[in-house]
C-alpha cells in the first residue's frame, strides 16, 4: 500500500503541472503537455515495475527497454526495413493507387458504383487480417505476401472514401462546370479530384495503422529470419522481453510517424479545407 504513495504523488504532480500549462495554451505548451503526459506514463510504469518487483519476463521497465532499443538498433533497423518499408509501405502504396484508380474508373458508371459500393462497404468492415495465412501460402515467405495482405486490407476503405469524395462536390459546383460546358476530364481534374482530397486523406490516415497490423500479422504465418513480427515471436521464445518491447516501441514510433507524415501531407494538400484552417479566436 505504501508503495502506492509515491506513484500517486507523481501522478497528481504531473496532472497539476499539465493543468496549469494547458491554461497558458501557447505553442510551446501545446507540445509540452502531451510530452509531459507521456513521460509521466513512462515514469509511472518504471515505478510500478520497480516498487512491485515485477519480473522483467512479464513486463520490463522502460529503462531496460530503452537500453535494449539502443543496443539492438541494428537489428531494429533491419526489421523496420523488412516489415514497415518493404511490407507495409509498398502494400499501402499499391493498395492506395489501385483504390484511387478503381474509384475513378467506376466513377463514370453508376451501375458499377451501385454494384461495387455496397460490397466495398461490406468488405471494408471485414476482419481481412484473416487472409494472412492464405497470402503467405500464395505469395511466399518474404515481404511480397505481407505487401499483398496490406494491399487487400487498405484497398476497400480507401476505395469507399475516394468514391464518396468524388461525389462530394455540391450541385452548384457541378452546375457551374455545366454552364462552362466543361468536358469530363476537366471537371474530374479541376473539380472532383481536389474536392475528393479530404475524403481520400481520411481513408489514407485510417489505413496507415491497418497497414502495420496487416504486415505484422502476416509475418506470424511465415517469414524470413527478419522482420518485426518475426523478431517479436522469436524474442518471446528466448525470454528477451526488453527486445520484444523495443520492437513494439519501434513499431509504435513508425506507426505514429507514418500517420503524422500522411497528416502533414494532408495539411499541405487540403490547406483550403475548413478543418485545416484555424478558426478565429
Amino acid at each position: 500500500m505504501l508503495n502506492a504513495l509515491p506513484i500517486l504523488a507523481v501522478w497528481l504532480g504531473a496532472w497539476g503541472l499539465n493543468t496549469w500549462l494547458s491554461r497558458l495554451n501557447t505553442r510551446t505548451t501545446r507540445i509540452l503537455v502531451p510530452l509531459i503526459f507521456g513521460v509521466t506514463l513512462l515514469l509511472l510504469w518504471e515505478m510500478i515495475v520497480r516498487l512491485y518487483a515485477v519480473p522483467s519476463v512479464i513486463l520490463p521497465a522502460p529503462s531496460q527497454i530503452g537500453a535494449s532499443f539502443v543496443a539492438n538498433r541494428g537489428i531494429l533497423w533491419g526489421d523496420f526495413v523488412q516489415t514497415i518499408l518493404k511490407g507495409a509501405l509498398s502494400g499501402w502504396i499499391i493498395g492506395s493507387l489501385a483504390a484511387i484508380a478503381t474509384a475513378i474508373a467506376i466513377d463514370r458508371s453508376p451501375f458499377l458504383q451501385r454494384g461495387l459500393l455496397p460490397i466495398g462497404n461490406f468488405v471494408a468492415a471485414l476482419p481481412i487480417v484473416g487472409i494472412a495465412p492464405i497470402m503467405v501460402m500464395w505469395f511466399g515467405f518474404d515481404w511480397q505476401s505481407k505487401s499483398a495482405v496490406v494491399v487487400v486490407m487498405v484497398f476497400f476503405p480507401i476505395l469507399v472514401n475516394m468514391v464518396a469524395g468524388l461525389a462530394a462536390t455540391d450541385q452548384m459546383q457541378r452546375d457551374q462546370m455545366a454552364t462552362w460546358a466543361a468536358p469530363y476530364w476537366q471537371s474530374l481534374w479541376k473539380l472532383r479530384m481536389p474536392a475528393a482530397m479530404p475524403f481520400l486523406f481520411n481513408g489514407l490516415k485510417i489505413t496507415t495503422t491497418l497497414a502495420l497490423i496487416g504486415a505484422i500479422v502476416a509475418e506470424f504465418f511465415g517469414s524470413p529470419t527478419r522482420g518485426m513480427g518475426f523478431r517479436i515471436s522469436t524474442a518471446v521464445g528466448r525470454l528477451d522481453l526488453p527486445l520484444v518491447w523495443a520492437e513494439i516501441l519501434a513499431s509504435a514510433i513508425a506507426g505514429t510517424l507514418f500517420y503524422g507524415i500522411v497528416a502533414l501531407i494532408e495539411k499541405k494538400v487540403t490547406f483550403w479545407h475548413p478543418s485545416q484552417r484555424a478558426d478565429r479566436g
Binding site: V57, G140, F221, G222, P224, T225, F230, S233, R238, L239
Partner: protein, 307 residues
Amino acid sequence: QELTLQLKWVTQAQFAGYYVALDKGFYEEEGLDVTILAGGPDIAPTQVLAGGGADVIVEWMPAALAAREKGLPLVNIAQPFKQSGMMLTCLKESGIADPTTDFAGKTLGVWFSGNEYPFLSWMSTLGLSTEGGPDGVTVLKQGFNVDPLLQKQAACISTMTYNEYGQVLDAGISPDDLVTFKYEDQGVATLEDGLYVLESTLEDSAKVTDLVRFVRASMKGWEYTRENPEEAAEIVLENDETGAQTLEHQVRMATEIAKLTEGSNGTLDEADYQRTVDILMAGGSDPVISKAPEGAFTTMITDRAFD
C-alpha cells in the same frame, strides 16, 4: 490440491499422457485437481511459468536451458520423452542427399519461438551459416503447416515424426519422393518434452509432494497411452476445443509418440542430459548456451515417485 500444467503446443496426442491421466482420473486418485492449458504459436511456456500462470510446464530442454541462462531458474523434474522426434524432411527433387554437402544454398523451414535451438546447433556443427548466401542456408520462419514443402517454397522443412511428417504423406506425397534426416540419426538430438518447474517451487515441501504425485500420475497416463493408443487419441480429441483434429491423425500421432516415450519411466537419464548440453554448447560462434548449467535438473521428484 490444485495444479496447472502449461503445454508446449495445441491439444494433440503429443500430450496424450496428461490428458489420459486427467480423463482416467489418475490425477484425482492422487488427490490432485489438475488444469491443462493448451499452448500455441506465440505462447512461451517459460514466460507463463515465470508469470505464475502455471506450476509445471512441458518444454524442450534447449529452450529451458536457454531460459535458465537468461536468469529464469528452470529445473527439469521429469523427462517422459526419451528420444527426439525432430527431423528435416526434404523433397527428393531438391537434390539433397547428404546433409554435410548438400544443404548449402538451400532454403530450409525452421520453427522459431524457442524451437530453433536444435536446428541452430546442427547447422553450426555442420559449419553452415544461417544467414543465406551460397555457403549458408536460407532460413524461413516456418508457419504452422507443411505448405512450404508442398508449394516448394523450401527445399526442406522441419517435421516431427509424429505430426507434420504424417501431414506431408496425407497431402499425397509418397515417402519415395521424400528424404528425411532425423536429428537422432545425425547425432544432434536434444531432449524434447520434459516437465519443468521453478527452483522456488522445489523449496516448498508441500508443493514437492504434489509434484511427486503429479509425475507419478502422468507417467501412469503415458503408460496407458502406450497400451491404448486409440483410446488415448479419442480422449485427446474430446479435449480439443478447436475441433480441427481428426481421429485418424491423432491415432497415428499416439502410436508414433509411443516410440519416443518407450524406455522412459520419467526419470531423466544423466547421459541424455549431458549429450544435450554438449550439443547446445558445441555451436561455433553463437552457441545456444555458453556454459554448462548447474542444478538444471533434479531426480528427486522421480526418485520419490517411483520408490
